[in-house]
Structures are given as structure tokens and as C-alpha cells.
Symmetry: C2
Subunit: 444 residues, 2 copies
Amino acid sequence: MRTLIKDTIEKIGETVTLKGWVNTKRDHGKLTFIDLRDRTGVIQCVGFQKMSDLTPESSIEIIGVVKKRPEKMINPAIITGKVEIDVQEYVVLSKSETLPFDMGQQTLNLELPTLLDHRSLTLKHEKIQKIFKVQAALADEFRKSAEKLGCTEIFIPTIAAGATEGGAEVFQVDYFGHKAFMTQSPQLYKQIMVGVLERVYTIAKAYRAEPSVTTRHLTEATQMDIEIAFIDSFDELLNALEYVGTSMVSNVSKNYSQILEEFGVDQPLVPDQIPRLTLRQAQVIVTKRTGRDLSKENDLNPEDEREICLWGKEEHQSDFVTITHFPTKKRAFYTMPDPENPEYSLSYDLLFRGIEILSGSKRINDYQQLIQAMKNKKVNPENFGMYLMAFKYGMPPEGGFSFGLERLTMKLLELHNVREASLFPRDMERIDERLSQQSSEDNL
Amino acid sequence: MRTLIKDTIEKIGETVTLKGWVNTKRDHGKLTFIDLRDRTGVIQCVGFQKMSDLTPESSIEIIGVVKKRPEKMINPAIITGKVEIDVQEYVVLSKSETLPFDMGQQTLNLELPTLLDHRSLTLKHEKIQKIFKVQAALADEFRKSAEKLGCTEIFIPTIAAGATEGGAEVFQVDYFGHKAFMTQSPQLYKQIMVGVLERVYTIAKAYRAEPSVTTRHLTEATQMDIEIAFIDSFDELLNALEYVGTSMVSNVSKNYSQILEEFGVDQPLVPDQIPRLTLRQAQVIVTKRTGRDLSKENDLNPEDEREICLWGKEEHQSDFVTITHFPTKKRAFYTMPDPENPEYSLSYDLLFRGIEILSGSKRINDYQQLIQAMKNKKVNPENFGMYLMAFKYGMPPEGGFSFGLERLTMKLLELHNVREASLFPRDMERIDERLSQQSSEDNL
């Protein structure tokens, strides 16, 4: 019967069977020290033998006795720091080849390309694993808050007949001889579905064939989407997105405070009321603080986002700032223009610590207005038959928003590149392994 | 302040604001009867006015007084059957066009192609909505049981450089001029990830370019996958899959018993021990019961699956039967052959009421053995660099399984076609709208 490493501290004096990976191994003359790692933690194992067949990352089974460590040998940094295992026997379950680099460092100091070239190995590093434990927790908190809002989970397709939101940045699929596309977002289907279930959520893939390599874009990303209907006001949407955004971030930060500490990240500042600014108000503030003239700009650039977040932190003790009313022409066709000034739209972004983590809007729910909006944006309504059908049959006032899971994970742990927050990141230069220029020409 | 329909029964005598869709409308001279539908139910509303602008499926707001119905007018079939709304005012939020067919029937009697041609409308039918409430509940129960097994949720890619499991039935993507493929399953990535996190689960898309139209295949399906490492025995895997399979089905059936009743489906039979048979044992039983000689067959065909499930029900009071030890040559390259008889493999299917709802196996975890197994199956190891890397660095003994969400939903509600259990089903003839033969030639 296997004992998990975290449970050894309750079993002092007992003989236990542990299973895990050799995290590190140190030979000290007659003694061998193994740090054994399983999904619950790491524990020091001491053997009076050479154990020469134990290579780092090999998976092994150890039978041994749990012993208290001498007082001065206690390691307060880990929960098993007060005990160690006196190894009686061990079995190698699967021997690891020699590692291409030392995995025993507290932080794996590798350049990003090397980290990704060896992804199946580097993911095994304890600190890298923690990124994905936080990611799983974010997704879980997202679902919990969506359920609290009364949303039903939906499972929607990613292969579509038309480019979801128009534009050229779509991946094309050969669909039995027909041209099809990978969806750029779950947007259109979640909108159809609020016409059915009123309130829906989905965690879905978004595919963007952006021919650029930046630190915050992936060609295949995970989106967490919510859409709600029968809304009374624009504020109802803002309340909902701030509720989901802040409770995700706060709960995960609280429940994984040790991981945040290890990554050198503070607990997030979440005031009772998140500061809300229109784009134009935000621009005036940035101009005041920096002298930069933004009056001709129709969006916030990354520098502006960082500045307005500094303002939010200084003036409102908030790591979040909500920005509303982006110019209608800068937003997708389904975005509702502000009836009081249609040049601007009932749209919003949620910024967190200098970066946009959410985007969304109130939607156009009138069929004729939607057709007109498509035409204005040079989107052909003929390619959106199933979507438009939903608006013919009583689509209520509605809106929604979308979080990027990888980007949120990146920002919460202050990683430098969104690829670090994706298990197997896709970009234009890589599908697991690097795509060579050569094969690009040969393959098609 | 909006009142949800289900909450009206607590508000007798009060004036409430309801929002929803006109489910049905009946004119009785001076009186108009509206059945109003929101996400929580349906309620009868009575107006002393014509309400001639209210068309079925329009979304509306009603202000009215909650009244007790006279004793003989009570409808015991619905929770709001004891009350009705005396309409004071109403507002049309979004007027529906004339429906192409009557949506007011208890069951929507349409041929499948019609049902799908009008999917954005037909999904709004109450009984069809319920299919997807059950589906959401199945996914939720899946996650709960996976968490109880100690699994971490993972988010893995669907664009791959090689065809996941070999074979020709893959969708090809143009990836910046490179040839790429949509994954046929999350299999390879979840295997890599048990080398990292030991126990993982994912709800992911599986793409199969099967050029055939059957009642149980989709080209884009939702898979619920679990993979666990450091297993002691084959039985440990069987215990895990039976736990997840039966608890999903039992919990959803119990929590949604009214929906099951409406679909005319019995509560599932789940004995303490699910009957387990090897393929050969199952074949002998089918032969005994039907006289059909299966000794040359290497799999169960749909007829056999139904027969062995009848046996399970009659002999073991079980709606589930676990079948193990399929021939090694019939299973994917990563399947572990049975060491005692390598012609057969440590593989399994879980049958539920006559159909396979789960498939899986113990995996080959030794690097050299895996390379050899690939070569035997004519799979080129060069296309699986990132996958194989995981096996170089200490992959423990492991195995896993996978449920098809749509197929399980179909079977639990005894639907006739898996397309009914997919919000927007994809098959070779349809991406929302039907694909014409014409465009097949024109488009590429």
C-alpha cells in the first residue's frame, strides 16, 4: 500500500512504501541522499548503500522507515522537513536517461527556447509544475463563479464554416474537401446559447493565426467565457465581470499563497469597488501623469495599461481597473454602440497589474441592427446563417466577457512570457518542436 | 428587480417583474394566456388584453401579480402549477419572427435534418434544453470524480505536428505554410502529463475525419479523459474507471430524475461489483445466448455489445459491463500487451446499456518497448519527438481511459442519434448548415 509523501509526517516510526521520482541525488561516502518527489511533495531519503542505478528523474519505489530528523537538520521550508526516510529497499520502476541539464536547481535557469525544446522534461521541475497547479485552480474558480451567476456550462464547436469574427488571422482546415476554419473564439456560439439558456459559460479553445511572435500571444489559447442575457443595465455586466475576475484572482492567491510567495508575487489588492474609467478618462489620467498626448489614440497601448494600473494602485489601492467605452470602430461587429454617443461602444476591458486580462461588451441583440453592423464592418452575413438565426427569434438584451487562461496565469505569477503559462505553447515557430523553414516549403 | 419564475411560488399576492420567452400563447376571447419561460421554468400568465404583438419565442418583460390558481386548474406536472400571473403590463424586449414550425409541442416532432437546419431555434425547446443540462451535469460529475481520484486538470493543445495515433482520418490544418493536424484525442499529451503530475484529467476536443455518417460518430467530439501513474495493478485501473463511470451516471440520474422520467428512461442499475469479462469470455457468453460463432472476431460489434449488456442486466442486475483484454493488434500502439499472453492487451471498454461509453488501457511506459510498438504499427517515431521524450525520463507504470461526452449523454437519455446530444454537431455533411457538393469543388 503506497503512502503519499505528504502523509509520512503522520507515520513516524512506521515502515512505508513510497513511489515517486528522484528529484536530486547526493553521494556522501557510504551514505546516499535522495530527494524523492511525488504529486504531494518532496522528502529526503537516506540509504546506506551506493544506489548507483538511481539517476535523477528515474521513477522508483522505496520501502523505508519514517524517522524524525535531528533538531538541527530540520528544513522548515517544506512540510516534510522534520522527517526523513531510512531506506530499506528500493526498486527502479523506470530508469531515466542522463539529463541534458541539471534539474536540481530551485529555479530552472534556462533560456525559453531550451525550456520549450525539452518541454516534456522541464515540466517535471517542481516550480514549473506549480504554474499549472495555479492554472487548474484558476479554471476551477472561474467555473465556481460562473455557476454562482447562474450560468450553465456549454460545449461548443471549434470547426466553423466562416471566419468567426472576420479578419484574415484564421487557421484553415481541409474539411472533406470543403474549406473550414478554426474558431477565433467561442463568441458566436455562446451568444446563440444565451438565447437558449440565458446564462452560459464555457472553457474553450481560441485559434489565432497571428503571424507575429510576442510575449503575450499564442496561436492556440484557452478562453474562459461567460455570456448573460436579460440584463437590465451596462452596470450589471460590469458588476458580473468584476465579480468573476476578482474572486478568481483573490481565491487562488489565498489558496496558493505559498506558490505566490515562491514566485515573489504579492497578494492582489482588491478594494470593494474596482475603479471604472471610460477610455477617454483613462487617457486624460495617463496624459496628466506622463505628459504623453493620447487624444488621437483609440485604444490603450501596453505602456498606457501599465500606467493606468499604477494609478489604480496609488489612488484606489486596486490591482484591477475597468476601462469602458472603446471606440465602436475598434471593436467587433457584435458590440453595442452607446446609444448616447454611438461613436463609442458599451465595451470593456479589465486590467490587472498592467495588462488586459478580460475583454467584452454588451451585444447588439436586434437582428436588423446586427445585419447593418456586419455590413459596416465588411463582414458578410451570408457566412453567419446559424448565428443570425438566433437573433430572428427573440434574442434578449445580453452581453458577456472572456478571460485568457494562459495570460491570467502568466500575470498572476508575474511570468515574463505567456508561453511559460501554457503546457505546450503553440506559436508560428513551434508545434512542440521548432518548425524549420525548410519543411515549410517541402510540406505543402 | 427581476423575479425568476421558480421563485414566484413564494410570492403569492406580490407584484413581480418576470423576464423570459413566450413559450406558447393562446387567445380565449377577451383573455390571453401566455406560458412564459425562463431558465428556471415555465409559468402561466393571464392578460385581459389582446397582446397581439406577442409572438411565440419573443423575449418579453411582464409585470404582474402572483395569484393562486383555483383548485381544479392546478397543473401538478410543473412546480409553478399552483400559481399564475395576472398581467398588469408587459414590454417586448425582442420580437420573434414567425416560427417555421410549432415550438409549443411537448416533444418537438421533427426529422433530424430539420432539427439541425434550425438548430439555433430548436435548441430553445424546453425538452431539448434539458439534454444539455444533463450534459453539463455529466461533465461536472466527471470533474468531481477525477478530483476525488487526486487528478489535476490540464489544458493541452489540439494542433499537433503529427497525426496523433496514426491513421488517415485526421483533419489537416494550414499552419503558416506548414502541414499540421487536429488531434484525434488528448491521449499523447495526457500521457506526457502523468510523467509530471501523476494523475491528470482533461475535457478536450477530439477530431476524427471519418468519411462515414453513422448515428454514433461526430467529426468533432468532446472527450473526458483521465490518466493515472504509479499504478500497482491492472485492477487498480478497472476500479478507477468503474468508479468514475458509475458515479457520473448514478449521480446525474439521481439529481435529474425528473428529466430521465420525461425521456422515459429508468434509473441505472449499478451493483456493488460491475461484471468484468475478457473479450473472449464475453464472446463465449454471446455465442451461448445467440448461437453466433464469434471465435474469429477480434472485437464486439454493436449487436454483441447489446447482447452482453442484456446478460449483465439479467445475471448481475447491472447496466454496466467491463470488457478487458482486446487483441493487441486491434489497439493503438501505446497499449500494453498482457505479459502473460502478449497477443492480448491490458485494455478495456466500459459498456453501458448496450454501447461502449469508455475505452482505455494500461500503457507501455518503457521507452524502447514503445519505439518497438510504434514500428510494429507502422507509426514513425520521428513524428512523436515530444511524446517520446517523456518516456526517456522515468515514466512510471500508468494507464487511463476516456469517455465520450456526447455519446454518454445520448445513451443516458436514450436518444437515437449522437447529433441530438451535441449543441452544434459536426459531421461530414454539415458545419451548422449543410455543405453542398458544389461548394466542395469550388472552395479548394
